[in-house]
Symmetry: C2
Subunit: 411 residues, 2 copies
């Protein structure tokens, strides 16, 4: 197994099991160790590796044991939101590449720590924002880079997902959304939409996010749900929830674009990420049946759909991927984002979602919380690049590049 | 013609002609006088009345002449945005009911003037917000009042309308959007979506709008349009536009709901008012093909459409209207909003969209301008009712009532 990339996986909730299985199935990856605070979960992770790849990784409840293992080159952590940052920091200090599942930071201080530690240790830190590698999002990225929409002006997205039942029986004890819903009021989960948008708009490479305002609706969804759909003696009966059901965040960018984020996980509705991209020449809108309208091309006032554009504009990575055979996991994007990380480790390059992306996307959580708590007051978004965004040019090479379309690297 | 309601119409742009024709065709209305600053337009108005109803109204370029006519009971003014308020004030001072076409105020002071003048003179002032009487909007109103969506939490809407060609040849000289686009940066046209939403949420009757924040994208659409689609020697070449292409406004209400408004008239895209209403039991979304999702009723994660609900929830006014025969004008809603005004004049009652509604909806324009100019700073929305919103109960009678469903008055 000498040529395999040796990794450790930390955190085995439902998500961890799925990601670890995808990793274990990769012929050039060895999952050397698995860890979870709960031993039963760590063991389940080891069993998943065994079932997928035929070998048994080391099992531990203390992730520092994995960090001490010299042969481990990289850590992947699909842990709980609140554990992400410390695991990332400790992994970088141990000289390892680290990739974290999505979720916001708790404080700005954590975001600064990520950036400073990465710079000092030279170790990359990548958020595994799978939606950056979604087929739709990458096709829109390709269209943006080819100028189909003209100059980008406005982007929107959301995480509109009815997650009320995550507090249901068998889920409430270990699930961290509940304590957020009870105690916080923020854009809790910005990156599924913000990640792709940030890449469309060259954030941290020639552009940056300057400031934001957030406003939260009342919190009525969970209390209604508990009252009408949970047993009368349930411990949540009568509990006051703090998290507004719909949180809207508006971000202003240095190049003049605005970004709208919609977080809504506590009201009944079908799922959407509601992506929108508007420019001087046209618009893409997910909620209009993946609608496309291009000035002078589309029939006046009529939506076309992305289906009309895939042949010409599908991202070359996805063309290749579909020919090769799409792997499972959220429509295939989980595999791609993991490969982007693994191949960066193998090539000893920075990751296509780098520590500045990771930190600035994670910062939206605590910043929105500040703005909401001050009645929608605008708050500044730190420039984690310390001015380097002015000179940092788009990356123009790499199979998994999200800055430019690098077709020649895709085989 | 003794029993006819005698009215004057002031302002004969394209919109004025259409509305005046609808009024002239009503058998119980006499358009006694028509006025426009441009005599040719006033004459065109008179000719429209003659063609529709067979009689010739008085023609003037000075609206004060109409206000001096004792037999005129009411004024309808589809004038330019900036003229609305003064005409309303003068009409009320002259002891006449007044109805104004939509559009924002320029300053808060104008909104206060409307309220104070109406109170002092006892004359109602109604904004002719036709979308309040749209079939879709009224059906959603009926659903809200019947509790289908549970407790309302969040509403959104927009005026997303590609109006770039309004500065084209033959349109630019008299059209007032251009000077706004060049000089202002605001939610210029909030009421087509805010009007219906305000009625869904009982604004000014048990609820009120407390504060807002607005953020504007860069202004790139018009400059691109002028550069690429206007002659090289056009006077607008090289002109800097101020109005952001996409202006988002977030409003917080006293009962905890939030409202999102989207103004976008300078980028290429198909039209939408993008109405959304979310409550503890479900959601309506115009952009999801007029989608409805009701908790425990709709199939999990699947949108139904409003078509599935019309039979049970269509507003009784629209059921009656469709049986009687829908009149032209934006799908029939122009006729309904005009009838709501005319029948209020005839019955000597207040109008279903009253001066508090008119003032508070118009105030969003200058307030958004303040917020944008201060980087998205929250600004307070005045309580034009001076505290009366706490006691002002929904109106529970009247054919055109927008506060409750008053089926017994609809014949």
């Amino acid at each position: 197994m000498k040529d395999k990339t040796k990794i450790g996986v930390i955190g085995f909730g439902h998500r961890g099991l799925g990601l670890c299985k995808l990793l274990a199935l990769m012929p050039d990856v060895e999952v050397v160790g698995v860890c979870d605070l709960c031993e039963d979960k760590a063991i389940a992770g080891a069993e998943a590796v065994k079932a997928a790849a035929g070998y048994a990784p080391i099992v531990t409840t203390d992730y520092r044991r994995l960090l001490e293992m010299k042969e481990i080159e990289a850590i992947v952590t699909p842990s709980a939101w609140r554990a992400h940052v410390q695991i990332c920091l400790d992994s970088m200090e141990a000289g390892k590449y680290v990739a974290t599942e999505v979720g916001g930071a708790s404080t700005l201080d954590q975001c600064y720590d990520l950036v400073k530690t990465s710079k000092r240790t030279g170790m990359p830190c990548m958020m595994l924002e799978n939606c950056c590698y979604g087929r739709t999002e990458m096709t829109v990225l390709n269209m943006v880079k080819q100028g189909l929409f003209g100059e980008p002006v406005y982007a929107a997205g959301g995480y509109c997902h009815d997650l009320r039942d995550e507090i249901g029986y068998g889920k409430e004890n270990r699930h961290y959304r509940l304590r957020n819903f009870l105690n916080r009021n923020a854009e809790l989960y910005p990156t599924h939409e913000l990640g792709p948008i940030a890449k469309w708009l060259n954030i941290n490479r020639g552009n940056r996010m300057l400031s934001l305002v957030s406003m939260a609706s009342k919190a009525a969804g969970m209390e209604h749900y508990v009252k009408t759909q949970m047993p009368a003696d349930h411990e949540l009966q009568g509990k006051k929830f703090n998290q507004g059901d719909v949180v809207i965040t508006l971000i202003k960018c240095a190049r003049g674009e605005t970004i709208l984020l919609n977080h809504g996980t506590t009201l009944p509705r079908p799922y959407t990420r509601m992506n929108i991209l508007q420019g001087t020449k046209g618009i893409y809108s997910e909620d209009k049946n993946q609608g496309i309208y291009i000035d002078g091309v589309s029939e006046h006032e009529k939506w076309q759909t992305l289906d009309d554009y895939y042949e010409k504009y599908e991202h070359p990575l996805w063309k290749y991927y579909r020919e090769e055979g799409v792997k499972s996991g959220h429509g295939g994007m989980d595999y791609l984002v993991l490969r982007a990380f693994i191949e960066s480790v193998q090539n000893k390059t920075d990751t296509p979602i780098d520590v500045y992306d990771t930190a600035s996307w994670m910062a939206i959580g605590p910043l929105s919380e500040e703005s909401i708590s001050m009645g929608g007051h605008p708050v500044a978004i730190p420039d984690f690049t310390n001015g380097m965004w002015l000179e940092r040019e788009p990356i123009t090479r790499g199979k998994y590049c999200l800055d430019e379309i690098c077709e020649e690297y895709i085989k």
